[in-house]
Amino acid sequence: MIAHRNLGLVAAAATLLAAAPLSAIFERWTWLIQAVIAVAAVAAAAALARLGRTPLWAQVLAMLGGLTLALTWLFPSGEELLAVLPTPGTFGHFAELLTGSVEAMRSYGVKVPDVDPLLFVTVLGIGAVAVLVDVLCVGLRRPALAGLPMLAIYSVPVAVYVDSVPPVPFAIGAAGFLWLLVADNVDRVRRFGRRFTGDGRDVDVWEASPLAAAGRRLAVLGLALAVLVPLAVPGMTVGLMGTLNSGVGSGLGGPGLGASPGRVDLFAALSGELNQSRVTDLVKVTTTEQDPFYLRFGVADDLRADGFRVRGPNGQRATGNLPEPAERSRPGIERTRHQATVEVTRELNMPLLPFYAEPASFSDLGNSWFYDPNLQVLFANRDNSRSKKFSFEYIRSTYTPQALRSAQPLPADLPLRRQQTVTPDVPEVRALVAELTEGERTEYDKVRAIYDYFSEDNGFTYQLSTEEGTSGQEILDFLENKAGYCQQYAAALAWMVRDAGIPARVAFGFTNGNRRSGDTLTLTNRNLHAWTEVYFDQIGWVPFDATPSYGVPGSTRSAWAPDIDAPEESTPQTDPTDTPDDADPSAAPERGPDQFEAGDESGAVGGGDTPARQTPRWPLLTVVGVLVLLLLLAMPALRRYALRRRRGRPAPVLRTVDVPDGDSAEPGRPLVLVGADSDRARADAHAAWAELIDTLVDYRVRVDPTETPRATADRLVRETLTADAEAGTAARLLGRAEERARYARDPLTGEPLPAALHSVRGALAGQADRRTRLIAAALPPSVLRRWRTTLADGSERLVTGVGRLRHRMLRFSPRRLIAQRVSR
């Protein structure tokens, strides 16, 4: 009974230890206190139930009851009896908390503050695990299974964190599990009374049993495999090693991933938000820039038959400083550095974050956000933008038309140009573009010709209630109807610029809106906007907003893309500091075309150079790995070879020659060789004999440590070397030499031991079957056995030492003191 109660306590403690990984989720430790209370209630209920020798189902009921009481006390609804007895109202409250927790899980990112719904779910979960663990351990006596619910707790932070969870909490949980297993095993043994060791030793004293040694060896092997095998599998190593490397995230933003940013249909979101009657604040941005260009969060640059699509972003962790954009010193380009803080409200929930183009560094972003330098988007795979607040530095570039005009056409074979000028074949649009750009020499002039086409003079108007979509047919419709909103304007301009052979894409973001206080802009869903970005050689992406500015509150224009409808339209929505002629900001990501050259052909311009450079490393690593493996496998054979070589060499002279002269030798007594020759002959004989024994082991001939050399040689001649008389003689010679070396005054000298050895070895090899020969050559059992023996000896010594230490420590064990007192 006492043991059972102990095991129940251990189960409860192990559950709490297993909950340690949750500390990565919560900001504070309130959950732990509450969990301790709940688990204690469960354990106490179980202990009480067991005290009454109730069946298992009653124990489960009791534990559930204890858990309910604890939850009632911890999360009161105010209707309880005596603060702990639940009423129907309490359960209603629990249901509310549960539903609230679903909401809370969505709304909070890690680390979460102490909110009741989340705490409730946590405590409920841990309490349920405690019940399960108790039932499995104490009730069913299957503590190994208890690892499953305990692992379930660990899976929570793993699921929440995109990057790895710190290992220490896991180690704590694992230690709890091991404790449980050990406690159960000890208990199991104690149920049969004292463990009998034969010489009066106690149960608790560790002993080096052969089974335990085998278990230790298995455990070590298992651990080594568990660590090494994942490293060796290439598919897993990308994740493991990749994060260890330069911080390049693994598998980011693949288009097929579940909640990846690539799947967001920005166009649909845009029209949906713009058409909403309710105005909600989405973003607050504070910047040091006087008149910033649009806040930007997304890009659609994948043009297919059904319109512009968003590609999956691909980038590196957006922590700290980003690589400094290449300095461009061209006349007409001005670069200024600014600082901004973005605060997203709870209403905006997407895997992208808005910021100003050309960021230099981010701060307060956390680990789950990544920056794609090509698309210039900030994205997360598992986090979202809700309630996110962060600040960043950015560089604002402004261009003069002259500077843009100086840009040369991009080479036709540049990957960037090939990808970003792809358009579905719509002959009408192509014809229109050809007509518009006829006679224009520079890239900029061509873009301007198309841009200028979308003027009110040509009948273009702003209208929100148009057909959505950016497919070829829809673009054609728009060009015919000449009525649309930013989506159509941006897509049509990008499409036509692409048709003119210039890379273009659609950018998404916020206009500056019309609510400004000081340096802070408050942006709503009505300020969502889309515009076009055009790529110029040596300059980068330059924004053009073709949407009529009267339809867009907070619209800004720039020197290179002025408001074509200016005379007809004033911009009352823009902020008072609007200075049209002043250096108007624009976003211009920069990447020299040469940098794109390295990009792969598969279509992902943003593929990044890091993976491209890493790829050729794999074959090398594989080769090195295979070589290391081969070397490891060849170790026994090499060791065997080295041993044979060493034994084949004559032993070095150890002492100076000290041969007694003939006169001093007693007559009648055989002359005894003393000195170097004797030592050498002795060493040679020993070496030859050791080599013979190893050879016997290698060829699977029985070796008996109780046999004398003479007996061994005789047995060899009698049983093994029956067919080969010469080898038999050689074996006898070796045996004689060894026995003389071991037991006689003077060793045998002048005998051809190496030749004899060779002869015996040849005879043995001739008799062995192919498999034995192969094993003897590749994995000589003699070496393996020696290593194994060394290992076993070491482990035995260690365990014996630990046991002795433990035994000494027992002197101070309080248990022992108590036991003695009781027995007296």
Binding site: D199, V205, G668, R669, I693, P705, T706, T708, R710, Y743
Partner: protein, 350 residues
């Protein structure tokens, strides 16, 4: 009778002389005992090891003949005692009688005052008489009426006994058995040897015709030679291991004594010398283990119930005991048997 001290024996016997002398003795005995070379050599080895021999076997296999042949081959004093139930200790050791001429007690030496003493059917005498041999066998002296008389060298007791016929016998006490260096069994001769025996012994007993081929002095020199045989440390260690194993064996109630260790090594020296070596091999110890050890040991009741003879137990021990030739443990060595392992550390409570 005066006798030489060891210093007077003279220098080392050259190897070929030793060989010739020992071979001559063996060949001489083999004229009588055919096809038993190993047994004969063992008997000679015991003589050269200054030990005593117990020949134990069923009647009629030549126990007494071997003893007498050995005695006759050496030109030295030989006495024979037929142990009978009414034999008295004084018959063995000697007695003081009153000499009326000198008016004094005069010591009449008993049967043990000889170089070779053949004790036939030793277990037929009462323990009282058997005990008379205790002192002389071990200490080579006889004390009668407070006077100690030294025995001659070589001195050897060759006793025979019959293990089967137990009626009217008194088994030898442990102390007595321990004094015998070796116990050998004759065993039946193989058919060829038996056939040859019929030819040779059919008409006339060859024993009386046996001529001595050696004398006491030569035997002393032979013994001196045997004493010089080299024993390596590893061999000594092996002997100790072997004896220790008998003391720790769970099958044995009584293990071998330190005297046994000494005698084992001494006999091994003699065997090695007879084999033409000047060094002892573990093989010698292995060969001698059963003859030298087995008769001194007492098996446990369990072993007796299981009909395990001490011979079988010793053979098993020899088979399991690894050779100590190296300080380092050989990787091919088996784990020490579980039974004799001491606890790795002391028990918690006494």
């Amino acid at each position: 009778m005066t006798q030489q001290t060891w210093d007077e024996v003279g220098g080392l016997l050259p190897y070929d002389e030793f060989r010739a002398a020992s071979d001559a003795i063996v060949a001489n005995i083999e004229q009588v005992i055919q096809g038993k070379t190993a047994t004969v050599r063992l008997a000679l080895a015991v003589l050269l090891a200054e030990g005593h021999l117990l020949i134990e076997d069923v009647p009629g296999v030549g126990k007494t003949k071997l003893a007498k042949a050995l005695a006759r081959s050496i030109d030295c004093s030989v006495r024979r005692i037929q142990f009978t139930p009414d034999l008295l200790p004084s018959d063995v050791t000697g007695v003081s009688v009153y000499n009326q001429e000198t008016h004094d007690f005069e010591f009449r030496p008993g049967a043990v005052f000889a170089n070779l003493v053949v004790g036939d059917e030793i277990n037929r005498a009462s323990p009282k008489t058997q005990s008379a041999l205790l002192e002389c066998m071990e200490e080579r002296q006889v004390t009668v009426d407070g006077v100690t008389y030294q025995l001659q060298t070589p001195f050897m007791v060759i006793a025979t006994q019959n293990p089967i016929e137990m009626e009217g016998t008194y088994p030898l006490p442990e102390a007595q058995r321990d004094r015998f260096t070796a116990r050998i069994a004759m065993g039946y001769p193989d058919p060829t040897a038996e056939l040859a025996m019929l030819d040779g012994h059919g008409a006339v007993d060859p024993l009386p015709a046996l001529r001595p081929v050696s004398d006491a002095d030569t035997v002393r020199r032979l013994i001196g030679h045997v004493r010089q045989v080299h024993v390596a440390d590893a061999v000594k260690q092996y002997a100790v291991d072997l004896v220790t194993a008998t003391r720790e064996s769970p099958d044995l109630r009584l293990g071998a004594s330190p005297r046994c260790t000494l005698q084992l090594l001494r006999t091994a020296r003699a065997v090695a010398a007879l084999d033409g070596r000047d060094y002892v091999l573990p093989d010698d110890l292995q060969v001698l283990a059963v003859p030298v050890l087995a008769h001194r040991l007492i098996p446990t009741a369990d072993a007796q119930l299981a009909r395990r003879t001490t011979d079988a137990i010793i053979a098993d021990l020899v088979h399991r005991l690894p050779l100590p030739h190296d300080r380092k443990r050989s990787p091919y060595e088996n784990r020490p048997p579980a039974g004799n392992g001491r606890a790795p550390f002391e028990p918690r409570r006494p």
